[in-house]
């Protein structure tokens, strides 16, 4: 199969969907000629024109709100938010407006929009360009949240997001934009709420999201060398969450570690760990482990920043201790 970058995969997903449905437009800062600072959208304006690939001023709450209104009236906007950190600027439009409209209207109004943004630290971009804020939106009923971990998932999940009649927030790992993975030429969509078991194992379950999927896979390699068999699960979407697959795996291995790049406190690791504890309690040999980003604003200094995100070695070490019954 051909291999393409995550960036290319996103670009293809948008182009294919825009060819299919004229109601779709894309809006954001420097998305047209510049194709975003990450160059993810290069070439789209040439094909679809500035009527459908719309450059905005630096007015995030404004264009987010306009996307909500456009979605309520027959358009299907894709909003490009340059950095996940800027989600704080659009929170009212996203959480008070987009998320609640369908419910508050008794099911009469729909808000089919996609907010594309990113997450991930260790780019030395400091505290306002490095956050992983997906837990914030996952907390709000009415928003779906997708976390692709490869070019393949980025394309399949984005296409599904675009066809969904609800607001969907999709976070790409900005460190992965240039990472290649096999992606079929033919069209495919990936369903929401269906986790992927990336590696079968029997001793411990590693649930990793987004950037942490690679970390879990590498940890599983390290563990294999020690004779520990780890099962690696990528939920792909956290809202909806494929509880059955995750809980089923934990019941099988009787140990689980949840790894996510958001802050650990009140975060995605807490939610998933709680569900495992709730539903697999009697099958577990040890308490469910959580590994999130350290609960500090992301520091700039390389000497500090690398300490804040879980590494394969740390995940493997936690798994070893778990399997030895030390925790």
């Amino acid at each position: 199969m051909r291999e393409i970058t995550l960036s290319r995969a996103v670009n293809e997903a948008i182009a294919e969907e825009m060819r299919r449905d004229p109601a779709i437009f894309l809006i954001g800062e420097d998305v047209a000629e510049a194709g975003t600072p990450f160059k993810v959208l290069s070439g789209l304006v040439e094909e679809f024109g500035t009527e459908r690939i719309i450059d905005t001023p630096i007015s995030e709450p404004g264009f987010m709100g306009m996307a909500v209104g456009a979605a309520m009236t027959g358009s299907r906007p894709i909003v490009d938010l340059m950095f996940g950190d800027f989600i704080f600027l659009v929170m009212d439009q996203l959480c008070n407006q987009a998320a609640k409209t369908h419910y508050m209207s008794g099911g009469k109004l729909k808000v089919p929009l996609v907010l594309r943004t990113n997450l991930g630290a260790t780019r030395r971009s400091a505290a306002q360009h490095s956050q992983s804020l997906h837990a914030l939106v996952a907390h709000i009923p009415g928003l779906k949240v997708a976390l692709p971990s490869s070019a393949y998932e980025a394309k399949g999940l984005l296409k599904t997001a675009i066809r969904d009649d609800n607001p969907v927030v999709i976070f790409e790992d900005k460190l992965m934009y240039n990472d290649k993975a096999p992606v079929p030429e033919e069209e495919y969509l990936l369903p929401f709420g269906k986790a992927e078991i990336l590696r079968q194992g029997k001793d411990v379950t590693l649930v990793g999201t987004s950037s942490m999927v690679q970390v879990c896979r590498k940890a599983a390699d390290l563990l294999a060398a020690d004779g520990i068999s780890a099962e690696v699960i990528d939920p792909r979407t956290i809202v909806p969450l494929d509880e059955d697959t995750i809980v089923g795996s934990a019941k099988k291995t009787s140990r689980a570690i949840v790894v996510d790049e958001g802050h650990q406190n009140f975060g995605v690791t807490a939610e998933i760990a709680a569900r495992i504890a709730d539903k697999a309690f009697y099958y577990l040999d040890n308490p469910v482990q959580r590994m999130g980003a350290m609960d500090v604003p992301v520091p700039f200094s390389p000497a500090l920043e690398d300490l804040t995100v879980p590494t394969p070695e740390q995940v493997a070490e936690r798994a070893r201790r778990l399997c030895r019954g030390e925790i």
Binding site: E29, D30, E33, A34, P37, D55, T56, P57, I58, S59, P61, G62, D85, F86, L89, R123, R124, S125, A126, A127, Q128, H129, M294, D295, V296, P297, P299, F300, S301, P302, A303, L304, L307, T308
Partner: protein
């Protein structure tokens, strides 16, 4: 150049020239550090805009406050910061102004009244206005200058705080550095109508000034600072300027949004440092040789500070979870 009684102000002129030369030297070194992969992360060069920061900050005392932007090294130098601590910050070293925690986009220099750079466009507009509110409530007489780019005028928060600043007559100057571009987009494509008219709509006295002319900037700044101290603020100033480098270091192929001719033209005809140097020589305030030796001295300082910062230690790993909360109860 705005004509002024020359000799009497010799000291101030030389200080402004020197500060502009220091900013240029700082940025040339920072750029080099980044290109040689010694400096991590994202950075935005201030080169070309020196007369804005220097002309304004020369009118302030160290008790007056500024807020800065992602393109903030110039503001920081102009407000009195030292090279060593700045380069240490850019390299994430313990001796940096923010102990390496902030980096290029977040340098703050409390002692000199710099409340910090900001990586959120428009992120400092509320902060600056709040600082002016403190000055008014406490009767300190301090003035706050809020630096931001033309692109930031698209942020709604600016209109909210301008309204309050005008209602409450706060001692603040909103200084918009219009360098013609918001990232990779021409200002004309992102700003409807006129920027000064927007501020005027709130009853705020607004001015446009040549941001390449340090004396013109300084003249206006002195007047507005004095008026702010008398309770006549707020003010809005649009400064016409230009950034020499890409939006960020790494924005190399930029022909698609601006021409090389345009860049060359600004550098050749409107360089704030060269033009001010010529004026100083013309007025017989300095000799060409004196300027050359000042430039050399400043460059040597910058290089020594880079060397110092490269060798300086990183923060101890225990600092990673320090400063999340302040100690006071």
């Amino acid at each position: 150049m705005a004509a002024r009684k020359s000799k009497a102000n010799t000291e101030a002129y030389l200080r402004m020239y020197r500060q502009m030369a220091r900013i240029r030297a700082f940025e040339d070194n920072a750029n080099q550090l980044y290109l040689s992969a010694k400096m991590p992360g994202l950075t935005h060069m201030y080169s070309g805009q020196e007369a804005v920061a220097v002309g304004i900050c020369e009118a302030l005392t160290s008790d007056d406050k500024i807020t800065s932007t992602h393109r903030g090294h110039g503001h920081c130098v102009a407000k009195g910061a030292e090279f060593r601590q700045m380069f240490c910050e850019l390299l994430g070293k313990a001796e940096g102004y923010c102990r390496g925690k902030g980096g290029s986009m977040h340098i703050a220099d409390q002692a000199n009244g710099n409340l910090g750079a900001n990586a959120i466009v428009g992120g400092s507009m509320g902060i600056a206005t709040g600082s002016a509110l403190t000055a008014k409530r406490q009767g300190t007489g301090h003035v706050t200058v809020c630096f931001f780019g033309d692109g930031a005028t698209a942020q709604g928060v600016w209109y909210e705080v301008m309204n309050m600043a005008a209602l409450w007559k706060l001692p603040i100057i909103y200084a918009c550095e219009n360098n013609g571009y918001s990232e990779y987009t021409k200002t004309a494509e992102i700003a409807a109508g006129s920027l000064t008219a927007r501020a005027e709509a709130f009853g705020i006295d607004s001015f446009t000034v040549d941001g390449q002319d340090v004396l013109a900037v300084n003249d206006l700044a002195q007047t507005l600072v004095a008026r702010c101290r008398k309770g006549e603020g707020p003010f809005f100033v649009e400064l016409e300027t230009y950034r020499y480098h890409g939006h960020h270091v790494g924005d190399i192929n930029r022909d698609y949004y601006r021409t090389k001719d345009e860049e060359a033209d600004w550098k050749k005809h409107r360089d704030p440092i060269v033009n001010f140097g010529k004026w100083l020589i013309g007025q017989k305030i300095v000799t060409p040789d004196e300027l050359v030796s000042m430039d050399n001295e400043v460059r040597a300082d910058a290089e020594a500070a880079v060397q110092y910062a490269l060798e300086a230690p990183y923060p101890d790993v225990r600092e990673v979870d320090m400063h999340v909360f302040a100690e006071g109860a």
